[in-house]
């Protein structure tokens, strides 16, 4: 996989979420992703950025345009130095939340992405990476 464009944003406040969503949309439009694809990508991004703000008081979000086998995609990475996730398997279940939310954020973001990776270490932080390919379903 090769990276064509890369940008890093710091997420500290709620309005940063909107700015980041717009940036992600810009990237998706740039590679010619369908409207449904764009919407899925920014919705997943919205869930993950919110998690970062709520559970880790913010963090860093990286936007990239990547290429694999001649196909372009948008890769988003969300890295925080928060408390980490104790039980990742549980956190990936629909309806599970340690906050007061619906518990759809992580599993929902996974369903909306073509590729999803979550690494978390208790006390150190969490990094979530998602990719949506231009031609992804």
């Amino acid at each position: 996989m090769m990276t064509l464009t890369k940008e890093k944003l710091t997420i500290l406040r709620e309005p940063d979420v909107i700015f980041f969503r717009n940036k992600a949309k810009e990237y998706a439009v740039k590679i010619g992703m369908s409207l449904v694809g764009q919407t899925k990508l920014i919705t997943a991004a919205s869930e993950l950025v919110r998690n970062m703000l709520r559970y880790a008081n913010g963090g860093e979000a990286i936007l990239e345009i990547v290429v694999r086998n001649n196909i372009k995609g948008v890769r988003l990475t969300f890295a925080d130095k928060g408390p980490g996730i104790k039980d990742v398997k549980q956190a990936m279940q629909d309806g599970f939340s340690t906050g007061k939310s619906l518990g759809l954020g992580l599993p929902g973001a996974k369903r909306l992405s073509n590729e999803f990776d979550l690494k978390s270490e208790v006390g150190k932080g969490t990094t979530v990476t998602i990719i949506r390919w231009k031609n992804g379903l």
Binding site: V17, V36, T43, S46, D94, S101, L102, R111
Partner: protein, 132 residues
Amino acid sequence: MDKIPILKMGEFLLVTIQVDLYDRLALALENDLINMVSKTEARGVLIDISAVSIVDSFMGRILGNIASMSKIMDAETVVVGMQPAVAITLVELGLTLTGVYTALDVEKGMELLRSKIGYLPLDEENLYDDLN
């Protein structure tokens, strides 16, 4: 701070969301709407989201909350104008907006509201129930 305007139209309240919402703005809208329902004794709330390009789980929950709270205050809520891409995404996200009435556009939403609060003769009301 930003604010979403709420218009009163007869017995209904009309909200057109023209910007993408962040969480605090959505919460403020929820609060303002419920207060307005109480103050104006509105029987229906119509929320137009045709300009909204993203509804995530938080926004979805707010819509559900508004519907439940209005219901308790004797007002019905209809969400209109959802973009197809948003609908596809919502379902895949796992959010089905249970308990929220929806209509394709403002006009149909108004009709639905009127039927919900009993403006229409019985047979027409049944017709709408079938559609839902």
